[in-house]
C-alpha cells in the first residue's frame, strides 16, 4: 500500500474512534475525563498548545523556504504548508472538544469580551487559518504563487499565533509558573522546533527512500532551526527554574516541590529528550541521514508533548492559596473536586491527573483531522503529478514544471549545506 493511503486509513480509523469517544463525552459530560476542579485543563489543552506550536513552526519553515528562493526547498515548503494548515484545524478541534457547553459557542460572537486573551487567541487563530489556506493554495496551484508580501505576512503571523497563545497562560497571575516574562518566548521556540521537526518527519515519511537524499540540503537548514530553538528553550527553562530552586517564598517552595519533586521524573525526561534531539540535530553525523533524522524528529515530538502536559500538571498542583504554617510547614487550602465518588475525598490538595480512555479517544479526533488534511493534500498533488507530490512519493514521473517555475529571489536567508548521499 502507498504510504499516503496508509495515512488516510489511519486518519479515518482515528476519526471514527475519536467520534465515538466524543459522543460518549457529550452524553456523560466532562466527568468522563480525568480533569477536576483543581485541574481544569488537561490533555485537550495540551493538544491545543501542541498543535498551535506546530502550526506556527511549520508556517515559519514554509515562509522561510519560500523566501530563500531555492528550488530544492520547494518540497519542504509544500509539506510545511500542509502541516501548518492541518495543525491549525486540529488546534481548533482540540479547543472545541474541551468546551463544556459547546452549544453556547455562538456567545463568542454575540457577546464577546474583547479583554479576554482567549477571544484574542481565537481571532488570531481564525486569521492564521485563512493565511494557511492561502499558502496551501499557492503551493498546490503553481499558477497562483504566493506574493512576497503574503509570505512575509505568514512569517509574522507564525510569531503572532505562537505569542498570543502563550499569553493565554503568561498573563495569569494565579499561575506563577506561567506568569513569567520569558514564557511566551519559550513557548514560541518550542513551537518552532516542533513545527520544523514535523516537517522533517512528514517529508521523510511521505518520500520514497531514494528521493530523501534530494532534500537533505533543506533538512540541514531545518536541523539548525530546531537545534537553535531547543537550546534556547533549555536555556530559558534553566533561567525560569533558578528562582524556584533558590527562592524562599511559599509560592516558590510549592512550585519547586511539585515541579522537581512530584513531577521530577517527567521534568528530567523532557530535558533529556529535547537535549538529545538538539545534540543530534547539531551533529553532522546525524543531521543528514534518513534514520537519525527520523529519530531526532520523534524525540522532539515526544519532548514537546511532555513539556505541554507537564506545564499543566505542575501549575495546577501548586495551589496558590498556600501558607507556611508555624509548626506544620507548607499547607495548601484543600480544593473540592466537583465530582462526588464514594470512598474518596471530595477535597484534595494534589490531583494526580491522568487522561481517561475517553479523553485519549477524543484526542484522536484532532489528530485524525490533521493526518487526513496532510494526506489529502499530498494525494491531490500526487494525482496532479505536480512536483511536490512527485517529490513526496513519485512514481518516477518527470518533474517538468519544476525548472521553468518562477521562484522568489528575495533575501537569501538560507545557506545550503552541500548535499550528501543517503548512507
Amino acid at each position: 500500500m502507498k504510504k499516503n493511503s496508509k495515512l488516510i486509513w489511519v486518519g479515518l480509523l482515528f476519526g471514527m474512534v475519536g467520534l465515538i469517544a466524543w459522543l460518549y463525552q457529550s452524553l456523560f459530560g466532562l466527568a468522563s475525563t480525568g480533569m477536576r476542579n483543581s485541574f481544569p485543563w488537561g490533555l485537550y489543552i495540551a493538544c491545543f498548545e501542541f498543535y498551535v506550536g506546530a502550526a506556527a513552526g511549520a508556517m515559519l519553515v514554509c515562509s522561510l523556504a519560500c523566501l530563500s528562493g531555492k528550488k530544492s526547498f520547494e518540497p519542504v515548503a509544500k509539506i510545511a504548508s500542509f502541516i501548518s494548515l492541518a495543525c491549525t484545524v486540529a488546534a481548533g478541534i482540540a479547543i472545541f472538544m474541551d468546551l463544556g457547553s459547546a452549544q453556547t459557542m455562538m456567545r463568542l460572537l454575540l457577546s464577546p469580551n474583547l479583554g479576554s486573551p482567549l477571544l484574542w487567541d481565537i481571532l488570531v487563530l481564525a486569521v492564521f487559518l485563512v493565511v494557511a489556506v492561502i499558502m496551501v493554495l499557492s503551493m498546490i496551484r503553481p499558477q497562483r504563487e504566493a506574493k512576497p508580501a503574503l509570505i512575509m505576512f505568514a512569517l509574522v503571523m507564525s510569531a503572532v499565533l505562537g505569542l498570543v497563545t502563550a499569553l493565554l497562560f503568561a498573563t495569569q497571575k494565579a499561575q506563577p509558573l506561567w506568569n513569567t516574562l520569558l514564557f511566551p518566548l519559550d513557548a514560541l521556540l518550542v513551537g518552532y522546533a516542533l513545527g520544523a521537526a514535523l516537517v522533517i518527519l512528514f517529508a521523510i515519511g511521505l518520500s520514497k527512500k531514494d528521493r530523501v537524499a534530494e532534500q537533505t540540503s533543506s533538512f540541514g537548514f531545518l536541523a539548525k532551526i530546531i537545534a537553535f530553538c531547543l537550546i534556547g528553550h533549555l536555556g530559558l527553562t534553566a533561567i525560569d527554574a533558578l528562582p524556584l530552586l533558590l527562592g524562599s517564598s511559599v509560592e516558590n517552595q510549592i512550585q519547586a516541590e511539585i515541579l522537581f519533586g512530584r513531577y521530577g521524573g517527567l521534568f528530567v525526561l523532557e530535558v533529556l529528550l529535547l537535549a538529545a534531539a538538539a545534540a543530534m540535530f547539531l551533529s553532522k553525523r546525524f543531521n543528514q541521514y534518513y534514520k537519525p533524522l527520523l529519530l531526532s524528529g520523534v524525540l522532539v515530538v515526544l519532548g514537546v508533548f511532555v513539556n505541554k502536559i507537564l506545564m499543566l500538571m505542575a501549575a495546577f498542583n501548586a495551589i496558590p492559596l498556600s501558607l507556611e504554617v508555624d509548626g506544620a510547614g507548607l499547607w495548601s487550602m484543600p480544593v473540592s473536586t466537583g465530582v462526588f465518588a464514594s470512598g474518596t475525598d471530595s477535597f484534595v490538595t494534589f490531583w494526580g491527573y491522568l487522561p481517561t480512555l475517553t479523553e485519549l479517544g477524543v484526542s484522536l479526533l484532532p489528530l485524525s483531522a490533521a493526518l487526513l488534511i496532510i494526506a489529502g493534500l499530498n494525494n491531490y498533488l500526487l494525482k496532479k503529478g505536480s512536483e511536490a507530490g512527485s517529490e513526496m512519493e513519485s512514481e518516477g514521473k518527470p518533474r517538468q514544471d519544476l525548472d521553468n517555475k518562477v521562484v522568489y529571489r528575495i533575501p537569501r536567508l538560507i545557506r545550503i549545506p552541500p548535499n550528501r548521499d543517503n548512507p
Binding site: F28, G29, L30, A31, T33, M35, R36, N37, S38, P40, W41, D98, L99, G100, S101, A102, T104, M105, R107, L108, S111, P112, N113, G115, S116, P117, L118, L119, I122, L168, T171, Q172, K173, A174, Q175, F316, I319, P320, L321, L323, E324, V325, D326, G327, A328, G329, W331, M333, P334, V335, S336, T337, G338, V339, F340, A341, S346, F347
Partner: protein
Amino acid sequence: MRYGMVIDLDRCIGCQTCMVSCHIHNSQAPGVWWNRVFTQGGLTHQNAVINSKDEYRMDYLPVSCQMCDKPSCQSVCPTGATYTDENGVVLVDYKRCIGCRFCMTACPYNVRQFNWQDAKKAKKEYGYEYGYPFDVKDGKKEKRLVYTQHRRSGVVEKCTFCIQYTKDNARPACVQACTANARFFGDLDKSNSEASAHMKGKKIVRQLLADKGTKPKVFYVSSKETALKEVKE
C-alpha cells in the same frame, strides 16, 4: 453599593455549618462546594498543630468567592458570562457560559466550580433534593440567568452572595447560619453597615493573596496575631 463580607477568625469555631448551608441553599451537586472551611496547617480538619513554641493551635480558614473588585476570572471570560452586577457582586450567567474554564485557571482562590456532570442527575443519584427552587434573573435589557436550581452540565458556578436572598435585602445563607456569628455582610461603602462596622477597631484586617492584585471584598479580621499570622499583608 459594594457588597462585601467580613469573617472574624476570633469567632470561627470551624464547625463548617456555613459550608453545608451554602451547599444546601444553593443546590450544589455532590462534590461541588462554593464555600470551604479547613484548619490551617491541619493534616485533616479539626486537627491541631503544635507550633514552634510547643503550643497547640487550631485556626480555621473559611474560603469562598472573594468577590474581587478586580476579578481575574471576569477579565479572562471570553463571552462576558462572568460579570459584576451593580452591587459589586461577581456573578456567572449560566446562559452565556461556554464552559471553557479559563476563569477557573485565572482565579487564585480555587473557588470556581465546574459542572462536570449533569447536576440534576447527580443529585438524584444520591437522593438529594434541595435548594432554592426558583430561577433568578438579573439585568434590565438582557436577562442574565444568575441562579437556577439545577445548573446544566458544562457551566461554571460559584458563590453569588446568595443572590436569591440578597436581592430581597436578606443576608446570605452562610451569614444567617453561622453558629458563632463570625460572618458579617453589608455595603462596604457605608461605614455603618454590619460588615464595615465589624472591621472597626480590629487589630488585624487582611485580604487573602493581596499580592495578586484582585482586591477582594472579603476581609478576614482578628484581634490576635495568630489566626492570620501566615496570611501575607
